[in-house]
């Protein structure tokens, strides 16, 4: 499976590359500075027990963000 998806649509354990952010997304600047840039590899580690937020691994560290923000992060799923 490959193609552009939202970060919030990924399954736990799947890997992807950042493609960009939805236009007008206010947290784009913060996320870029935390290392989420076009082409950066990420892995979705897990969803929180109540279904939100989610946890990703990026540049060797773990970051959590809410589904609301993850909706605005576009990713390309790497083919298995």
């Amino acid at each position: 499976m490959s193609g552009t998806m939202r970060l919030s649509e990924l399954q736990a354990g799947s890997e992807a590359k950042i493609q960009g952010f939805a236009p007008g997304f206010k947290e784009a600047g913060r996320l870029r500075e935390m290392g989420l840039l076009p082409g950066t590899k990420i892995q979705l580690i897990r969803w929180a027990p109540l279904g939100d937020p989610l946890e990703i691994k990026v540049r060797g560290y773990h970051l959590s963000l809410r589904k609301q923000e993850a909706d605005s992060v576009e990713v390309v799923v790497s083919s298995p």
């Binding site: 206010k26 947290e27 600047g29 913060r30 996320l31 870029r32 500075e33 935390m34 290392g35 840039l37 076009p38 580690i45 897990r46 929180a48 027990p49 109540l50 279904g51 939100d52 937020p53 946890e55 540049r59 060797g60 560290y61 773990h62 970051l63 959590s64 963000l65 809410r66 923000e69």
Partner: protein, 696 residues
């Protein structure tokens, strides 16, 4: 102006300590300065200002300013704004530091180097403290400090601040006579780079911008959208336009281009200085996470941790609290015994000693709570607790980290409000502070017990019914807290999208020293800042009950004749619609010292001998109390109305003092006093009047 390159003679050299959150910066600060720290606030904001003194290895005094942790110098929060402004010398209250120590997490080097590139842009003499090398090794990563130093062009000192290792070497590096200014190593793509340099030279030559900050200003201009650039001339604009056109062709934003260039550089450096081998304990961290965020075991661990913490604050703390209470009680008795009766004796025994005791009695809870919070933060569990609770808290617009302060507030709002410091977002923090007093604290328990006894006087009432009523009171407060949190998020804080972008640092063994240090610092701060206000108000309350003198030996008569007694009568018309008489009015006024004072005040009002268990005789006297027309004062409806008032109203000057301290203004504590007491009044009014109408 002193040159940044050599030690200026006479003055203490000032270092700024900067770094990402979770990089161990505070531990480095504590290692260097020990207890020689001064904690204050930056004027006008609620950001903490920490300055410490220490000596170089040659005995030269040096000063260290601990700047708030930041992921970037692009200010996105008041914390990061302070960090940036201090480093640029843009704050009137803080001198621009002479040198910078940048703490980086060796186990997370790439992202930490992003901030390093921004720090080095400032051109200040800089030392990099490569911290947490042990955590990196657990992950199977070895960072070559010497190679990193060559790459960055600044001294790099390896350390493990948790074990106090490498601190001497760091002090040695900091005390060097000559420390070269940092030079920028990362580069933008050619077209952008040349535009940037031209803008910079235009700023220096045409706009007389200080060369030391010109690069950062030029980069700011390049990174901001074309319609938001200020202070440029036609020349600058033409250079910026070339850059904008180039970026438009590549379909990139200037911000993305700059951040990418920094990360490309950081990634390159990491490839050259980090060697990776087989991971060891990192797997352990991941395995622990699989348990602590597990849909079942995660909750078990969470409930156990929170239960243990709550139990400690709620019950273990009562022993030292009783001890403080009794000691100050005996001290007051002793003063009464040795001093001749008079105003001075009264002031000392009932005003000052009671006031100091009233401050210190909070200490056991504050110490225990901050010990736990220190442990939770130091081990990395705090972020996980926020991770699993965020869904619940976000329903009312709060942050996952609001949970612990609110839970702690069931024991006492004072430590709970102080615990909100772990919430980075100032709006989330403020809302949490505003609703924290709605969580029924332990000081309300004696009042609840007394009033439930008055409401259900029959000894045969099953205990279960009383317990159910008690739980209902807790529930009303909790639901109220969530209701108001949601309301404030929609009104006061409107326009702020709550975001939750939080790092989950690897688990690690806590450093007991660091935890204890933080606990002591917090407690010191409480005693010094809030304590003085509480003491002052205690003396004022004593004065109100002691003057004017009635001349009678009966404390009941004295209280009636005092200012407080008269105030009780004055407010009677205001509280009568709630079903309260002026005697209850006195109790309400006395409650401002602490809510449980209601019980002792009412004992004096109803002339009950001070006994170990006053509840039963006091209840009996209360139930005999009649209005002038002969109808009983304490009808069940009045008891319910009074209980509801105590659940909601903010009757605690210590809370007001702490909120004043934490928000750095009188505006929020007064607002809080107004909205809580106003709501309490309305709720009691509606309940009492409706109940009366229905014939209860």
């Amino acid at each position: 102006m002193t040159t940044p390159h050599a030690l200026p003679s006479g003055t203490a050299l000032t270092f700024a300590l900067v770094g990402n959150p979770n990089c161990g910066k505070t531990t480095v600060f504590n290692c260097l300065t020990g207890m020689r720290q001064k904690v204050g606030n930056y004027p006008g904001v609620t950001v903490e200002k920490k300055v410490g003194q220490f000596f170089s290895l040659h005995g030269k005094p040096m000063q260290l300013v601990d700047l708030p942790g930041a992921y970037s110098l692009t200010p996105r929060s008041p914390d990061e704004e302070i960090t940036r402004d201090v480093l640029l010398g843009a704050r009137a209250d803080t001198r621009r530091p002479d040198r910078v120590v940048c703490v980086v997490d060796a186990s997370n080097l790439e992202r930490n180097l992003f901030l390093v590139t921004q720090i080095l842009d400032l051109g200040l003499p800089t030392i990099v403290a490569l911290n947490m090398t042990d955590v990196a090794e657990d992950k199977g990563l070895t960072v070559d400090a010497e190679a990193l130093s060559l790459e960055l062009g600044v001294p790099v000192v390896s350390c493990r601040a948790h074990q106090k290792a490498g601190i001497t070497e760091l002090r040695q590096a900091m005390g060097r006579e000559i420390l070269p200014a940092a030079v920028r190593k990362w580069k933008l793509p050619d077209m952008l780079e040349s535009a940037l340099l031209r803008v910079q030279s235009c700023l220096v030559n045409q706009h007389e911008i200080d060369p030391s900050v010109s690069f950062v200003k030029a980069l700011d201009l390049l990174g901001s959208p074309s319609d938001q650039r200020a202070g440029t001339c036609a020349r600058c604009e033409s250079f910026l336009k070339t850059a904008d056109d180039q970026l438009a062709k590549e379909e990139r934003s200037p911000h993305e281009a700059i951040v990418s260039a920094r990360y490309d550089y950081a990634q390159g450096v990491c490839e050259r200085v980090v060697r990776s081998g087989p991971g060891g304990r990192q797997d352990l961290s991941d395995r622990l996470d699989a348990v602590f965020t597990h849909p079942v075991w995660g909750w078990v661990a969470f409930l156990f941790t929170m239960g243990l913490m709550f139990f400690s604050i709620f019950t273990v703390a009562t022993y030292p609290m009783d001890w403080v209470d009794k000691s100050f009680g005996s001290l007051a008795d002793w003063v009464r015994a040795v001093m001749p009766p008079g105003d001075l004796r009264g002031l000392l025994a009932d005003g000052v000693i009671a006031g100091v005791g009233g401050v210190l009695v909070f200490l056991p809870q504050i110490l225990i709570l901050f010990f736990f919070i220190g442990l939770l933060e130091d081990t990395g569990y705090m972020a996980r607790a926020a991770f699993i609770m965020d869904r619940v808290m976000s329903r009312v617009g709060l942050h996952g980290k609001s949970f612990i302060p609110l839970l702690s507030s069931y024991a006492c709002a004072i430590p709970g409000i102080m615990a909100t410091r772990t919430i980075e977002n100032p709006k989330d923090r403020l809302v949490t502070i505003l609703v924290a007093p709605l969580m029924s604290c332990s000081a309300r328990l004696p009042v609840y017990t007394l009033m439930i006894a008055a409401l259900l006087p029959n000894e045969t009432v099953p205990a279960l019914q009383k317990a159910g009523l008690m739980m209902a009171l807790y529930a009303v407060g909790t639901v109220g807290a969530f209701f108001f949190a949601g309301l404030f998020k929609k009104t006061l804080m409107r326009g702020e999208t709550p975001v939750f972008i939080m790092e989950l640092p690897p688990y690690r063994l806590p450093s007991l020293g660091a935890v204890v240090m933080q606990m002591l610092n917090r407690s010191k701060l409480f005693v010094r800042r809030a304590g003085t206000v509480i003491l002052g108000l205690s003396i004022l309350l004593w004065f109100m009950t002691a003057y004017p003198k009635s001349g009678s030996d009966s404390s009941t008569v004295q209280l009636e004749q005092s200012i407080a007694g008269k105030l009780g009568k004055i407010i009677e018309p205001v509280v009568k619609p709630l079903g309260f008489d002026w005697k209850i009015g006195i109790g309400l006024i006395g409650s401002f010292a602490a809510r449980e004072v209601f019980v002792s005040t009412m004992s004096i009002v109803y002339n009950v001998e001070d006994d170990s268990d006053v509840t039963v005789p006091l209840r009996d006297n209360m139930l005999k109390e009649k209005w002038p027309d002969g109808s009983p004062v304490y009808t069940p409806l009045v008891c319910v109305s009074l209980l509801l008032f105590y659940v909601i109203a903010l009757q605690c000057m210590a809370t007001i003092a702490v909120v004043r301290r934490e928000t750095n203004s009188w505006k929020w504590p007064l607002f809080q006093l107004g909205y809580l007491t106003g709501t309490a009044y309305l709720a009691s009014l509606i309940v009492f009047q409706t109940g009366k109408f229905l014939g209860f």
